[in-house]
Every structure is written in C-alpha cells, then in structure tokens.
Symmetry: C2
Subunit: 141 residues, 2 copies
C-alpha cells in the first residue's frame, strides 16, 4: 500500500463531521491484475430518501515545489482510478480531496477551469486546520 498523504486524518475527520461513515481505509481497486488503493471509501445514509450515497476520496496535499507537477500527477492518478472505479463500482463517485486554498488557487484559475471543463474531475475542498469540508465541486447533497 502506498504512503498515506499527510492530510489523511484531517479529511477523514472532516467527512465524519459532515455525516459520512468511513467504510474503507483504503479502498482497494483492481484491474487486470493491477491493484490500486484509493485513500478512503465513505457512505452516507440519507434519512429522508433511505438511499446510500457512496464515494471514494483520493487526497492530495499539493506540497511539492512545482504546482504544475502536482496538478499533472493528481489529474493522472484521479483519471486512472476513475476509469477503474467506473468498471468496478459504477455507483461510487470519485472525489479528489485537496486543501480548499489549493482548490481556489489551482482549480479556479484558467488552467484549472479548462481541465475541469475538459475532463470529469470532481473536487472536495477541505480546511486542514478546522478539519471541515468547505465545498464540493460539483455539489453533493
């Protein structure tokens, strides 16, 4: 299993505060003999609808020297996992969890907007200090 991202526990706590139950830590994916580990799997039961929402969450800190390298690496990993998840568990949606400051500085800038328009990337911004979810892009309700 790969090394845990330094924000692993922050995101876990933030999801739990927001009503999610952590069901997988990590979530294993497999395709053609290759194993992959998404950081977290989580589930939420909506009282009103009695329908379970399932997500997978890959956490990235964007702490490397090059923001472009971080972006390319995060996008590549997300899209590999997304392709496999769509085959293995089509009802589980994959989110890329990043500090909300990164979401604003990288993904709301022109290049980030172009990438979000071109590829199916879902984001969740969290506050590492308060351990709270700040926003889901696209929204999840």
């Amino acid at each position: 299993m790969p090394a845990r991202d330094s924000y692993h526990d922050s995101v876990k706590h933030a999801l739990m505060k927001a009503g999610w139950t952590i069901t997988h830590d990590p979530l294993r994916l497999s395709w053609g003999g290759k194993d992959m580990y998404v950081d977290l799997g989580a589930e939420r039961l909506l009282a009103a609808e009695r329908a379970g929402q399932q997500i997978a969450v890959e956490i990235k800190s964007f702490t490397n020297a090059s923001e472009m390298n971080d972006l390319e690496q995060a996008l590549g990993q997300y899209l590999v996992y997304r392709a496999v998840l769509a085959e293995n568990e089509p009802n589980r949606r994959l989110y890329l969890a990043i500090p909300n400051s990164v979401l604003v500085n990288v993904f709301e800038e022109p290049l980030g907007q172009l990438l979000r328009k071109t590829y199916p990337v879902a984001l969740v911004g969290f506050n590492p200090t308060t351990e709270e979810i700040v926003q889901w892009l696209p929204r999840i309700d």
Copy 2:
C-alpha cells in the same frame, strides 16, 4: 524549461528518419499565464497532398521504480498538454512517445487498454537502440 527526458535525442532522430522535420524543441504552450513545454514539435509535408501534418510529442521513459506512478504521471501530463493544445493549436495532434517495450507491456495490457478506451491518448512507440519509430497508435499516415 524542464529537464530533458533521456530519450529526447533518440526520438528526435527517429522522427527525422521517418520524414518529419523538427520545428520546435521544445514546443511552448501557454494558458492563463502558465507556461508548459512539450518536448518536440514536428511537421511533415506530404508530397502528394501538399498538406502539412503537425504533431507535438511528449517523451516518457518509464524508468521509475513504480510502473503505476509512471503511468499516472504520463497520463496526467499528456491530458493537461492535450487540453491546452486543443485550445492553442487545434490542428496539432499530441503524441506520447514511449519505448515500444513500454507500449506493449503497459498500454496493451488490460489497464492500459481501459485507459486508452476511456481517454483520448495517442501513442508512438520507438526503439531507443535503433532510433526508429516502431508504431503509432492510432496510426498516422
């Protein structure tokens, strides 16, 4: 400008042998104030049609310890460049150049096939020893 891939000259020679003229080394892309450098830009004039074919070529050696990391990183970088190229130069096609042994071992295996089916990745396999192009996927004529 980023460090050159170790196979840079091999690919350059292979393209020239195959009738391409290297027009950019590297090819600069820009979007929203961010600069990116694709390894090579090349052009070929077809005598019969008098139409120039233009390509951009990003070279990856896949020499890291983890094949999965190499794959994620190459895919992410390719898809970032592709999105920007589609805006800047829509007639120039982007290829990911990799040793043909990597093309066979990674991209013709189940995970690689799934990724090629899911995302618009064009590949060119080269032989680093003979410095020849082995195959284009999809074919280019």
